[in-house]
């Protein structure tokens, strides 16, 4: 390999020689610059690195070796060929010590020149190639170093704990999250045995990995760490395998799934409670039905009136419960369809209160309502209706005979404040605390005959929350409760 179109500098004070060489080299497609003095040669030759320098040793104004020295000082790898007369052959040989590549004696034939230039350019090619490779290698090293620090940064930033262990079961890499997650209080050094660092319940995974019991597949395991706080960690351990299939070590990723487990537990508890709530009325209905099948209480249907009435009540309660459950599930899944429109809350409340008139009369309850007109908010009518129907119905259900219900609604600082107060059985402080929890129902002799799913207030709170509203309760046991719903209005006062 050699350079085909080289840039060549010819330094010679003899014009004939200078131009002759230039012409010959141009025939070979090279680009040739010339200099007729040593000073010019130095100036041109050090301003730019030519592929080849052809230097006359005897130049009028100075010694050719000086030109050579200067060029080599500037470009140590420059290829310089000395052009010389026979008389100064010894000097020419001498110049090779100064770094000249070769020399050619005058006079010379074009073939001789071509031959030497060809060889010199071949040499030049190797030098350039070596230089290119060297530079590339350097660039790669830079890249690798950069890449390494980048990967390090990424690993350190990941929110999962990571630990890499080699075949000797020594820790070779880890991130801060790993240390934090396992609350490792000692300093970890590269080369520490993994079993000295990890809590015992994590040893098994690594043992299996190294024993090859896993056929080199990943192991996933939930591990509970007790000290100092209880954490559930999902540990995912994978062998690191090279291209020839050998195991080089293992990498473990540790993720804190405590929160997910907690949610999972709550969900299970909810299902458990729901199942319980569904089972109780069904068992009751079954009992009543068996009574009837066995004709236990007599032959006429009248003998079973109480049980049949109660069965129907329980069936109605079951249907309500199932509807509530579906409602909650839809709310949680976010699949509930809403028709948001401006709602005149004043109107809605007035109508709701009227709707319950008969129920209030039945229990001889007096009503005191004060509803400010034109309370408007953007909402789904059915949902808002449900909130107030539920609260007023509760105020009736949990009231005492001859009690009182107060309904108040007014604007309050960009919000609508609705208060529904009763003079009923009230709540004990510990009952109040759990009031909005799923399936919570105040259980005492006073509430025995009051039916409900235990989900009403849970749903109601979810609705109010979804409108960025708030629901509060004030209550005193055996003297009454006041529910306050605060909803944002879309009307600026």
């Amino acid at each position: 390999m050699r350079i085909d179109k080289a840039k060549i500098l010819v330094v010679d004070d003899e014009m004939g020689m200078r131009e002759g060489i230039k012409r010959l080299l141009e025939i070979e497609n090279h680009q040739v610059d010339t200099a007729e003095t040593g000073a010019q040669g130095i100036s041109l030759g050090t301003a730019f690195e030519y592929d080849l320098y052809l230097l006359d040793l005897k130049i009028g104004d100075c010694d050719g070796t000086e030109v050579l020295r200067q060029i080599k000082a500037r470009y140590p790898e420059a290829i310089c060929v000395i052009v010389t007369a026979y008389a100064s052959i010894d000097t020419a040989v001498e110049t090779t010590r100064l770094g000249a590549y070769h020399y050619i004696a005058k006079p010379f034939s074009p073939e001789e020149l071509y031959h030497l230039v060809g060889r010199a350019l071949e040499r030049r090619w190797y030098i350039l190639e070596a230089r290119r490779l060297r530079e590339e290698q350097e660039r790669r090293l830079m890249e690798v170093a950069h890449e390494k620090s980048r990967i390090r940064t990424i690993i350190n930033t990941i929110d999962d704990g990571i630990v890499v262990v080699n075949q000797e079961k020594q820790i070779v890499l880890w991130n801060p999250r790993f240390v934090k997650l396992l609350e490792i209080d000692r300093k970890i050094n590269v080369g520490d045995l993994v079993f000295d660092i990890l809590p015992e319940n994590l040893h098994e995974q690594f043992n299996q990995m190294f024993a090859g019991q896993t056929e080199l597949k990943a192991i996933k395991q939930e591990v509970v760490i007790h000290a100092p706080a209880k954490l559930v960690i999902m540990v995912n351990t994978t062998p690191i395998i090279n291209t020839s299939g050998e195991m080089l070590g293992v990498v473990s990723v540790l993720r804190d799934i405590s929160e997910l487990k907690q949610l999972d537990l709550l969900k299970s508890q909810f299902i458990n409670m729901a199942a319980h709530e569904l089972k109780a009325p069904l068992s009751a209905i079954k009992g009543y039905v068996e009574l009837l099948i066995d004709r236990t209480l007599g032959e006429t249907l009248e003998s079973y009136k109480q049980q049949l009435d109660r069965s129907r009540e329980r069936i109605d309660a079951l249907v309500s419960l199932i509807n509530d459950l579906l409602n909650i599930s839809r709310m949680e899944a976010g699949t509930i369809r809403r028709d948001i429109e401006p709602i005149d809350l004043s109107n809605l409340l007035t109508h709701t209160v009227e709707f319950f008139h008969t129920d209030m009369d039945k229990r001889s309850l007096t009503l005191d309502s004060s509803i400010e007109p034109n309370l408007v908010m953007d909402a789904d009518r059915e949902e808002i209706q449900r909130v107030f129907t539920n609260l007023i119905s509760n105020a009736i259900k949990y009231n005492k005979e001859n009690g009182k219900i107060t309904v108040n609604a007014q604007r309050d600082n960009g919000y609508i404040r609705v208060q529904i107060a009763d003079t009923g059985i009230g709540l004990k402080p510990e009952e109040k605390e759990h009031l909005f929890e799923e399936f919570f129902r105040a259980k005492n002799p006073l509430t025995r005959n009051i039916t409900g799913t235990g989900l009403g207030l849970t749903i109601l709170k979810k609705i109010v929350d979804s409108y960025a509203g708030r629901i509060e309760v004030e209550s005193e046991f055996e003297s009454g409760s006041t529910f306050t719903v605060i909803l944002p209005t879309n009307q600026i006062n």
Binding site: A280, S283, A284, G287, Y288, E290, L291, N444, R448
Partner: protein, 132 residues
């Protein structure tokens, strides 16, 4: 003279079920919905036997009631039967096999809920009032 039974359970449906079936079988039945009411009714009604739910307002209300009844001179010899679903709900087993166990639990027998009306009637007639 009708035999008198006091039924204590906070589940309205069980009361609705057990009360008529026992009445229909010739017993005089009084009901209470919690332990406090139970002790009251015990003094007024003077039952010959009691069927008591374990978990009412508290999970151990039934035991508390048993203990109170058994500590009364007139309650000492009244058989009290605990009805509970605790065995399959919590895995806790009760035993009233030996005198010691009976004394410790302060109950004379226990029944595993759910108890069908038929089974209850059979238990009351064939076991509880067998020799009366």
């Amino acid at each position: 003279m009708k035999h008198k039974i006091l039924l204590v359970d906070d589940d309205v449906d069980l009361i609705n079920l057990y009360q008529p079936i026992l009445q229909n079988a010739g017993f005089e039945v009084e009901v209470a919905f919690n332990a406090e009411e139970g002790i009251q009714k015990f003094s007024q009604f003077k039952p010959e036997a009691m069927l008591v739910d374990l978990a009412m307002e508290h999970f151990d209300s039934g035991f508390v009631l048993c203990k109170k009844i058994k500590s009364l001179p007139e309650g000492k010899n009244i058989p009290v039967v605990i009805m509970t679903a605790a065995a399959h709900e919590t895995g806790i087993r009760f035993s009233t096999q030996t005198e010691e166990e009976k004394n410790w639990i302060k109950a004379d027998d226990y029944l595993d809920k759910p108890i069908s009306a038929r089974d209850l009637l059979q238990y009351v007639t064939e076991k509880l009032f067998k020799n009366r």
